[in-house]
Amino acid sequence: MTDPESGPARRPAPDCSPGGGPPPGAGGGARHAGALGEPVIRLEGREKVTGAARYAADHAAEVPLEDRAYAWPVPATIARGRILSVDPGPALAGPGVVAVLSHENAPRLTDADDATLLVLQSPRVAHRGQCVALAVAETLEAARAAAAAVRVVYEAEPHDAAFRPDHPGLYAPDTANAGEATDRIHGDPDRAYEEARFRVEAEYLVPPLHNHPLEPHAATARWSGGRLRVYDSSQGTTVVGRTLATLFGLAEESVTVVSEHVGGGFGSKGTPRPHVVLAALAARETGRPVTLALPRMLLPSLTGHRPFTAHRVRLGADGEGRLTSLEHAVTTYSSTVAEYTEQAATPGRHLYAVPNSRTTHRVTRLDVATPSWMRAPGGCPGAFALESALDELAVACELDPVELRLRNDTAEEPDSGLPYSSRRLADCLRSGADRFGWWGRDPRPGTRTEGRLLIGTGVASSTHPALAQPAVAEAHAAPGGGYRVRIAAADIGTGARTVLTQIAADALGAPLDRVRVEIGASDLPPAPVAGGSTGTASWGWAVHQACRELLYALAEHGGAPPEAGLTVRADTTEEIAAVSDAWARRAFGAQFAEVAVDMDTGATRVRRLLGVFATGRILNPRTARSQFVGGMIMGLGMGLTEHSALDPEFGDFTEQDLAAYHVAGCADVVDVQAYWLPEEDSRLNPMGAKGIGEIGIVGTAAAITSAVYHATGIRVRELPVLPERLLPGLAEWQRAVVV
């Protein structure tokens, strides 16, 4: 078994381009193979470490001071009802205030099939924190003061912002998020459960979680001659451009959206958000370029969140620990504005062999902010529940948790019956166990202590879909021997710009420094968003294809481009439609955690996290490691510190900013290691790569809570692991140890 330290596998990318066979070499030059798989430093890294990289709100500085305007939202202070009046008078009287927009005077918008974007269009208030007015002023200070001075009078109506797993409004949606089936049933799970030798039944709770990218959602918008240009903080400029065109009744080519650098998104910038619509509205209304950066405390209300999910899991197993029955029932909520159902019952459809299963989703609608994508939607909270239940089953069966998972491994996807194009979950578990020093673990809780610390270890499996979407890319050969590749991809910190350049250089057989990749703007060839771990596969496929076709076109020109250069455009719609549906495609991994629990205070520290992943070919080990490690660290936060709560009285979140909502800090992260196994899979895409942006957060929290159980004997079924959830159980240990 090899690992990344022994060097990435060097092999040519599988040839999936039309016509097959290797393309002719570029310009008669030597082929520069090997850009793919090399640990290339981020191409925009220098801009980022020198402060030169411009994010959406930074573009205000390019506008002359006297022309500039800043917008500041006014959030609703009721959870449900209607606006009776908006009095902008006191705000407008302030020095430097340019305008106050509300539903009474804002330009009308055309529905773009996302009701959360119909801002300032109606007096209805659907949730607390909804933007009900917008102050625009010449300075940030004036805009903020003006927003505070807008007087809004409401007629409040009774609201329901209290979720519970037996909420009377629960119903079966047509589908769950990402088009996942609401319910899937195989065999007779009830009977199999009743007849099972070992049984586990438990309820797990995952609180609302917030994406909180470090860059708050921001936009700088400017109109000129009926055209709109916006610098937006988004995960995909194509969809933002199209949506703005619809909302404002413009032709698509009249809108340009630029997201050159994006300060993280984690799903919350995967769809257009109200801030960009508000900035565009204000810029049109005032005739000035307008910059709007959402105040941090409004992110939970306006940019989506992972909703509370309640999980009822029942597992049945035979005498050898083989699963005979699996049930995973998820209940959750959405807003009254839009339906979103976190597909959290899905992991059981993919992870383990089981003949009888029932996985279901029910959702209710509350008077709250609309939930949406957060890193590994569905799979992440779902894996916490299922993998926790696996650990409980291991205890019930008296089997090692790694061994239990190995016994339930499968070459076929349980839900579809399709063979996996590649699946190395078992290898990840074994390799991780070796590296972590898992074997020989005494399974009894509380058997390891260091002074007043209880030490434990835990494991969990990870999985995420490996998908690709159609995209268009353009490749251009200049007479001097340089290449330019254009695609509306987004680099939100993933390293996409760098990896796409590597893919292009590899396909062209050109050195990296002869290839320039342009991404991050809607006037580039259209591309899907950075989401669902599909970016590299989708964009890379189009880039690869465009570059290969460029080589063929160059060959027809005798190997050198004409004076004007040579440009080709590739659209992968047909290739992606032609992908064989005879295979299930997913990434897999295994995560191991070691925790230390202070038996007196209940404080829990994750001392080690170790993940081993099998995700096809790794295209850039330097940025890939950061992706895996970053996901695991977000999972560490989910396990130990991150939690929000709906306030039933007020209808918004009790944790709104970074002082109340605790993301992992530097001191929380002691030792986090990610490894990967070589995996060749020619049934994915020309690069043989699976997406890696999300799998790192899948399973982490379950590995941590299982380690806490191992340390203390206390099963934490509601995240996160807070001291107050441990202290009652820790009393036993405190008595047992003589101080």
């Binding site: 925009e44 402060g51 909180h212 470090l214 970053g630």
Partner: protein
């Protein structure tokens, strides 16, 4: 009714350049360098001193510039990420961050870098942290252990989770004064 705008003048020296500014008295150092001086390297992550993205050096000491009123900094010497290296090259911390991939989205990076520069000075000056041993002799440099670096860098949040790379990058510079890429072989 909004309050009338009060202005005052202040002299700020930013990255070595003197500025005589007429300022809204409500303006923070962060908004002043970004909006008035066009130095957009310092970032606004929370505006409440919770995330550290706005960290700059004020008279050599790291501070959250979103919590500082600009008029109260009259006469101060302010260094933002743009002024860290001085002459258009890279500060060793900047090189080390590149080598160690100590960032992903890059939004917290200017604050991390300024904070790291301040932390290295505090270590050299022997200023103890919560994890420094009680018997540490006052005034003698504190050893830049990983634990010390993690503790001292915990005022700067990174949602991408680049902390392991950040700690390695700061340790590189603390131990050798240079980034790994500046030495033979490289460190990755």
């Amino acid at each position: 009714m909004t309050a009338p705008v009060h202005t005052a003048t202040a002299a700020l020296r930013v990255n070595g350049a003197p500025h005589e500014l007429r300022l809204d008295t409500r303006a923070t150092v962060l908004d002043t360098v970004r909006e008035q001086l066009g130095l957009t390297g310092a970032k606004k992550g929370c505006d409440h001193g919770q995330c550290g993205a706005c960290t700059v050096l004020v008279d050599g000491v790291r501070m959250n510039s979103c919590l500082l009123l600009a008029v109260a900094c009259d006469g101060a010497e302010i260094t933002t990420v743009e002024g860290l290296a001085g002459d258009g090259g890279l500060h060793p911390l900047q090189s080390a961050f590149l080598e160690r991939d100590a960032f992903q989205c890059g939004y917290c990076t200017p604050g991390q870098l300024c904070s790291a520069a301040g932390a290295l000075r505090e270590l050299a000056a022997g200023r103890p942290s919560a994890v420094t041993g009680e018997g540490h002799p006052p005034g003698l440099p504190v050893v830049a252990s990983d634990e010390e670096i993690r503790e001292r860098m915990s005022g700067n949040l990174c949602r991408c989770g680049a902390y392991p790379g950040i700690v390695r990058a700061v340790a590189d510079v603390a131990h050798t004064g240079t980034a790994p890429g500046d030495r033979e072989g490289g460190a990755w």
